[in-house]
């Protein structure tokens, strides 16, 4: 049995959620005031994910950095693996918003795309 405490992010209430787990199985959730809190807690303890945003180095253009993001969310424990690949990547100018900068970043199956254009 493992007990985990989380802060709900859905509204300024910031309910303190307590999740009881038996291995990978959630056995109890308490502390939420609305159903969104319960759903959040379930996801956060079983499969927490995040979108990672940063910048990628650009060569051959006026801008030297272009902002980027993972096209969808990636597992939370992969954030720094993703950052390592983003830090190492280089794009060639011009970059168009939405363009893929890194395929399948850190083995997540998710691409890193440009969130702005760079000339």
């Amino acid at each position: 049995m493992e007990i985990r405490e989380l802060t709900c992010i859905n509204c300024p209430m910031g309910c303190l959620l307590t999740v009881t787990m038996d291995g990978d199985t959630v056995t109890d959730i308490s502390g939420y005031t609305c159903p969104r809190g319960k759903t959040y807690a379930e996801k956060e303890v079983t499969n927490p994910t995040r979108i990672v945003t940063s910048t990628v180095r650009v060569e051959g253009g006026r801008s030297e950095r272009v902002p980027c993001k993972t096209e969808s969310d990636i597992p939370k424990d992969k954030i720094f693996d993703v950052m390592r690949e983003i830090d190492a990547a280089t794009a060639q100018a011009p970059v168009v918003i939405g363009e893929t900068l890194i395929h399948d970043v850190a083995g997540t199956g998710v691409d890193v795309i440009a969130t702005a254009s760079a000339i």
């Binding site: 300024p12 945003t53 940063s54 702005a116």
Partner: protein, 420 residues
């Protein structure tokens, strides 16, 4: 260039863009945006994190992506804009003096002006932090620009004072870029930032949030080397004996935003001492006829979606004004904030000019749990809505309906209150 436009919009950030689009959609052709930056989009260009647009587009965008959708529309609609152009003065007669490298200094006569200059961060000086004044102290937004746009790191060991959203966002950005963020100190007993940012920018990376704490000393003659942080009492004064020293090479300040109203002031626009933004009526028109305001220059917003929504309204009403389609006169009803609500925007409403529904935005002065938002028409309470939580960091709103107001022909004052 053309020296007369129906509508001149000062600022090409999220407010200016949305106002321009709405003005055009309301049938005004002659619209120009004057933007001081090198690109449209304003501060969104440096807000590269996600979380924008959930209300407007039902999806989560980054700042540049959110801006891009509006910029693309402005371009597609053929709305004129000038970049790297600083508005120097606005006269009460709506003559807008601006300057850039290509055109020099020029004056545009506008039928209507929309103020959309945004806001700026409160600097260190205004916080009266004692100690040295070395390099390495930045407002969070300046650091955000350096890191995200210029691609430079201010330092590697960071302390953040103030838990506004920009500070929280920068805690994560600096961490992802390899810096160690030691703590975020917040003077108030609660954070002004979104819960989501506290969890995803601080908790995710084990960065402590020290509520009721402030910086009491800054060390380092040339470059910052350390800060001392102390707990503060209920009077917000440091408590002796609670000091802890943190070595650092960077101090970021995220201690509040101030609407940027120097131009408004020089035009003679009346400002609210609470919001530091113009006092406006239901049309978002300021004390000077034909001068409208929207976005963070009007009052600091929590979400850009509400900026866009408000600005669109200003675009529509300015277009109506420029077309000469505004009903003159009409009785003004005052909207007051009371009992925990700090202010309302707008602060007056005229039944003859308002749409069927009017959004009134306000902020609370404190954290309220299980409280009520009430609306009074003079002495009569006409609305009472229970809220689980009301916090100063989040904008609240109520909707007034014209039909309901018409039922009170002698209505003089509408009061928005937070009641326990």
């Amino acid at each position: 260039m053309n020296k007369a436009y129906d509508i001149v919009i000062v600022g090409g950030g999220p407010a200016g863009l949305a106002a321009a689009i709405a003005a055009r959609e309301s049938g005004t052709q002659s619209v120009i945006i004057l933007e001081r930056g090198e690109q449209l989009g304003g501060i969104l260009n440096q807000c590269i994190h996600n979380g924008f647009g959930l209300h407007t587009f039902k999806e989560e965008l980054t700042g540049p992506e959110y801006a891009h959708r509006f910029i693309q529309k402005v371009i597609d609609m053929g709305i004129e804009y000038k970049l790297d152009t600083m508005v120097m003065d606005i006269s009460p007669e709506r003559a807008v003096t601006a300057m850039n490298r290509e055109d020099g200094m020029f004056v545009i006569d506008a039928k209507a002006v929309i103020l959309a200059m945004g806001c700026r961060e409160r600097p260190r000086g205004a916080l009266n932090i004692p100690g040295y004044r070395p390099a390495g102290i930045f407002s969070a937004g300046t650091a955000q620009r350096l890191v995200n746009i210029e691609g430079y790191m201010p330092g590697r060991e960071v302390v953040i004072l103030g838990s506004g959203d920009i500070g929280l966002i920068m805690a994560r950005r600096m961490t992802l870029e390899g810096a160690k963020v030691k703590c975020v100190a917040e003077l108030m007993p609660y954070s002004g930032g979104l819960k989501r940012n506290i969890v995803q920018c601080l908790d995710d990376f084990g960065i402590p949030l020290l509520l009721s704490h402030t910086v009491v000393d800054i060390e380092g003659k040339e470059h910052i080397t350390a800060v001392t942080i102390a707990e503060v009492g209920a009077d917000r004064r440091p408590i002796k004996g609670t000091e802890v020293r943190y070595t650092c090479d960077t101090l970021l300040l995220s201690c509040g935003l101030i609407p940027e109203n120097e131009l408004s002031t020089s035009a003679g626009v009346r400002l609210s001492p609470i919001t530091n933004g113009p006092v406006v009526n239901e049309s978002l028109e300021t004390s000077i006829p034909g001068v409208f305001a929207c976005g963070n220059v009007l009052h600091v917003h929590d979400l850009v979606d509400y900026v866009s929504e408000e600005a669109a309204k200003a675009g529509q009403t300015a277009a109506r004004y420029a077309q000469g389609a505004v009903e003159k006169g009409g009785r003004e009803i005052e909207i007051h904030a009371g009992g925990g609500a700090r202010y309302t925007v707008p602060s007056t409403v005229c039944i003859d000019r308002m749409d069927d529904r009017l959004t009134v935005r306000f902020r609370a002065g404190d954290v309220y749990k299980d409280a009520y938002v009430s609306v009074y028409f003079d002495e009569a309470r006409v609305m009472r809505k229970k809220k689980r939580i009301i916090a100063p960091g989040e904008m609240e709103q109520i909707i007034l309906s014209r039909e309901q107001m018409k039922e009170y022909p002698d209505l003089k004052t509408i009061t928005v209150k937070i009641e326990r």
